[in-house]
Symmetry: C2
DNA sequence: GGGCCGTCATACCGGGCGGGTATCGCACCA
DNA sequence: TGGTGCGATACCCGCCCGGTATGACGGCCC
């Protein structure tokens, strides 16, 4: 199976529509139909059910979509990491020193990251660290497709499956309320209570694909903006304990009694051969 | 990057020789040279250094070989699992019920496996389990390229990186000697002592590629044959505790004081969607 | 219910590229 | 200095990918 065929199939599977998939792929619809039909013939499996309003996946199609995405990510990772090897190793000793790409959520664990980067930079033989800050839920895919070499992730929010990891920090979660709110005098609240405070919806976090679930709360894009909403009495939010350092006036904090602990980890692909990743991890475990 | 290019590059990298790689791939040498040159151009990286006696890898080439193997395994897995989905789901409700492929080392952990299969078969909704027994070190690759859905592995011998797993059994290792050997009266021996017993070499285990390391001991292919050699006073062997059940007369057993514990685990790809795998794992954790 | 629309499949054509054979360039070696 | 072994180059052919035009078919609306 060629990656071209996989890309075509994934496009059709995701769009549920040959025409839109062809457009997204930058080709015409007939060659796409033909390629998918050929793939189905070679696999001996019907992947899609064609209807008069598009195409839906069969069971075999679901499997190929799932496994195929992982395979495509692996191929992209191979390509990206090879490119990075040559440009950082400086083919022919030309220039650019080796570096490692570390990705993390913007606005999360900044203290841990700062300590890690400082400590690592002091190590002998440390390579340059490119810090790439991204919206939540993007770190895992970046690690899988080679855009990053190592990531700071948060369990149970991020998908850490398939990665090697070291735990950096375990913390409780807190409910952040407008100062003076009735609940702010409580010693603790439950998750159920926090998610149904009259007039104070919790913000919605983006999904992996960047879309937002349905609901009443504001769409969370920038933590400062959401905290402003909380201060104005328009929302509440649940954050890990370390965020307390960034809070300013006008906010009240109540521990959550039954929320899962947030675990901050450093994660990397299990087959990583990068000396930079190894060094960062070694430094991280010593913190 | 197309999988064809990756396959070509991996072949050349492994053979270190364009001619032999072309033969292995079933094509002529000139198109292969051209394909690799084109890949290098597109990646903007020299992957191979051509010499008058073959080709050796550059640093970028090492990266691509490493990442590329993983990517090819992922693509193969996608293809195999899709094929298996359709043939087991019975396209059109034709026949073949769903099944799951479990792989394990021949001759290891047979007790655990028997208990697991019995317990799972008694579960409601259990699917058929194809048990595939292979030589040591083959289970991990099989899980990675989709030939198997779930595996019984042994730490620290097998490479479990990137898999989800549950521990089934932790055991000490034992030195197996001919009955009456001088060491057989000892309360325990060290690994260093065990690996340098005069006249009693330890057998050599095959590597992932099936080849054997250099050394004096017999090549281990069949455990019964090796135990026969031990009985005859021609070898010694280190085995986990559970192997004690299979020992017959003529053998003495001495605990190893400093050998790592052997951990038997059940492992599966972290993104597995198979109900059969989930059921097997659930059963295994209850044992 | 018949025309119309949307969607995917089929038919057909052209060009690019992958693969083959023949040959060259080159380094080592006897 | 010819021989040998290896990869690169030159050149040709045929397949397959991609494009345009058109067909088949189920819904939908008036």
């Amino acid at each position: 199976m060629e990656t071209r065929e996989l890309r075509y199939f994934v496009a059709v599977a995701e769009e549920g529509h040959f025409g839109r998939a062809a457009e997204r792929l930058g080709i015409a619809q007939p060659p796409l139909s033909r390629a998918i039909a050929q793939l189905e013939r070679r696999l001996g499996a019907d992947l899609l059910v064609r209807t008069h309003r598009g195409a839906t996946l069969t069971e075999a199609g679901e499997t190929l979509l799932h496994e195929g995405r992982a395979a495509l990510a692996a191929v992209e990772a191979a390509e990206r990491r090879t490119r990075r090897t040559v440009e950082t190793a400086g083919a022919g000793g030309s220039g650019g020193r080796p570096s490692v790409v570390l990705t993390a959520k913007a606005g999360a664990s900044s203290e841990v990251i700062a300590k890690l980067l400082d400590a690592y930079a002091a190590e002998p033989g440390a390579v340059e660290v490119d810090l790439v800050l991204c919206p939540p839920a993007q770190q895992s895919p970046m690690l899988r497709d080679g855009r990053a070499d190592v990531a700071i992730l948060h369990q149970p929010f991020d998908d850490v499956s398939g990665f090697d990891l070291e735990v950096l920090l375990v913390e409780e979660q807190l409910l952040i309320l407008p100062a003076g709110h009735a609940l702010s005098t409580r010693r603790s609240v439950t998750v159920a209570e926090a998610s149904s405070i009259p007039g104070l919806p919790l913000p919605r976090w983006p999904r992996v694909d960047g879309s937002y679930p349905e609901g009443p709360g504001p769409e969370l894009r920038d933590l400062t903006q959401v905290l402003q909403l909380v201060r104005l009495g328009r929302a509440a939010i649940v954050l890990p304990d370390s965020a307390r350092a960034n809070l300013r006036d006008g906010l009240a904090v109540v521990p959550l009694s039954d929320a899962p602990r947030v675990t901050t980890v450093i994660a990397w692909p299990p087959h990583s051969r990068s000396a930079g990743v190894a060094g960062l991890v070694r430094t991280a475990t010593r913190l």
